[in-house]
């Protein structure tokens, strides 16, 4: 990018079930915390990128969601861009904000993702989630995200490239990490036996492997390099985005692989340079699929990489130290923002009990929607701590 873009501040409202809090309340907490973290006020914000997936269907606020929700925190006059890209909305908003700064149009941009999925009617929430695909293709199928991930995993299990125990054990890891995260929705470690015995959702997935409905918000203040003084400086080293396509040939690289390769090329880095990653495990075992797509292992090597312990918090490449989507929670529009909030804490060294060892390069991968078997959207961001670890 032409101008350096730095993460000046981050903040979150915890993810979970908050019947007393509206979207305005969730967003207020995240925005105030991010601005406070940056040492800035609301009137320093020059542009806003607001991500949300389902407020139209679930709260009836179909249009001007950002302006309406952020009225609560006194945002007005500045440009507000409302972003939907299903579960990848948060990272799409982040990317647009980074571009605005890189262009030199603004020096301070606010990225905020907010979602309220608990509406006391599970069918309504599930129906809203199902709109993350072309309705002309999926009408009447009952194609839920749980089924989409279940199908991706079944194929690999039947090909003998993963064992069922991997799905279980990576879920145990997710919950172990989530238990260390005060912002996570699911904060209880689970045993392998509990994962196996949990209610079946879509074979081979059980309830404990899946992310659940969630309320929450996350915010990031981005700034032109050097604009905000901080003890540790973190910049966005690369941002890449792709959308879904029909794979006519199963040997074609997936959207995730294509997006990651673009991000690595832009960063001048490779997968071996990544020190910590937050990836889109809407179902905990999906983490294993993305190891391969992000180049963390060779094709077919996900089980071996997991078994080596490398992706545990104490390993050489901690993946989803936050607990990921499946344990931190997955309030759709907030997820992509929350991934980068977590990575910022990791790069600063302020992640507490779930801190990775002195990471310098961090990768976030956020996917959204469904497009004929692939994701409809995928974004990969690579962050760099430019301050030396002392």
């Amino acid at each position: 990018m032409s101008t350096e873009v730095e993460v000046a501040g981050v903040g979150m409202h915890p993810f979970g079930r908050f019947p007393e809090s509206s979207l305005k309340d969730l967003a207020r907490v995240a925005v105030v915390r991010a601005l406070d973290d940056a040492g800035l006020g609301i009137k320093d914000v020059e542009a806003v990128y607001a991500a949300n997936g389902m407020a139209g269907l679930l709260q009836g606020q179909e249009q001007v969601r950002g302006q309406s929700v952020l009225r609560e925190v006194g945002i007005e006059r500045v440009p507000v861009v409302n972003v939907d890209n299903a579960c990848a909305g948060g990272s799409t908003a982040l990317r647009l904000a980074a571009q605005a700064i890189a262009l030199g149009e603004v020096e301070i941009a606010l990225v905020v993702g907010f979602e309220k999925m608990f509406v006391d009617d599970l069918d309504r929430s599930l129906a809203a989630l199902e709109t993350a695909a072309d309705l002309d293709l999926i009408g009447g199928l009952g194609l839920q995200f749980t089924a989409i991930y279940a199908m991706r995993l079944r194929r690999i299990l039947d090909a003998g490239l993963l064992e069922h125990r991997h799905l279980v054990e990576v879920t145990v890891k997710s919950h172990r990490n989530g238990a260390l995260n005060p912002y996570a929705q699911h904060r209880k470690p689970v045993s392998a036996a509990e994962v196996v015995a949990a209610r079946p959702i879509a074979d081979p997935l059980t309830l404990l492997m899946c992310s659940s409905m969630s309320d929450g918000a996350a915010a990031i203040v981005l700034a032109r390099g050097g604009r905000v003084e901080r003890p540790e400086r973190i910049r966005i080293r690369a941002s890449a985005s792709t959308s879904g396509f029909s794979r006519l040939d199963d040997d074609e690289p997936s959207i995730g692989t294509i997006c990651a390769e673009r991000a690595y090329a832009r960063a001048g880095l490779g997968p071996a340079d990544v020190d910590v990653a937050e990836i889109h495990d809407a179902m905990a075992p999906a983490e294993l699929l993305y190891y391969e797509q992000l180049g963390f292992c060779e094709p077919g090597g996900a089980g071996e990489l997991f078994d080596s312990g490398a992706t545990a918090i104490e390993g050489r490449l901690p993946v989803n130290p936050s607990g990921g989507l499946s344990s931190r929670g997955h309030p759709v529009g907030a997820t992509g923002v929350a991934q980068v909030v977590e990575l910022t804490w990791q790069l600063r060294g302020s992640a507490g009990e779930r801190q990775a060892k002195e990471p310098r390069i961090a990768l976030a991968q956020n996917s959204g929607g469904w497009y004929e078997g692939e994701s409809a959207a995928c974004n990969v961001h690579i962050l760099e701590r430019t301050t030396a670890w002392s």
Binding site: G139, G140, A147, A150, M151, R154, S246, G373
Partner: protein, 129 residues
């Protein structure tokens, strides 16, 4: 052929998506690169050509993966079976499955079948050959 010809194409909702009598799905085929698609498109997604023709797609293919869904949805009692099929002419279709053995292992040959009542949504599914 000029791209602008695609602006004159029959409306999406007016195009047939299947022919239940013939037992096939109807899609599009690109006269330039051969790519097929279901439902048919207005412009080829692979090469950008507007020279698309309506074609009957292969009625059978390989079930690449499937899942048994245990969460009911309005109009869909649980459990129900969803699958991803690669038709013999290369088109990937997602649909309900019937008649699959409980321990079915993929890949598996499947064939398209239609409901007796075509008002059923969706009106077709796949079954083992």
């Amino acid at each position: 052929m000029e791209l602008s010809s695609a602006a004159e194409r029959q409306n999406f909702t007016a195009r047939p998506r299947y022919d239940a009598t013939a037992g096939v799905l109807i899609g599009s085929e690109c006269a330039d690169c051969g790519a097929r698609s279901w439902p048919g498109r207005g412009i080829c997604n692979r090469c950008g050509s507007p020279r698309l023709e309506q074609v009957a797609l292969a009625p059978a293919g390989s079930l690449q993966t499937y899942t048994t869904v245990h969460v009911a949805r309005p109009g869909l009692a649980a459990p129900y079976l969803l699958g991803q099929v690669r038709l013999d002419d290369g088109v990937r279709v997602h649909a309900h499955l019937r008649g699959l053995a409980a321990d079915a292992h993929v890949p598996l040959r499947v064939r398209l079948a239609f409901a007796a009542d075509l008002e059923t949504v969706p009106p077709f599914h796949f079954e083992p050959e």
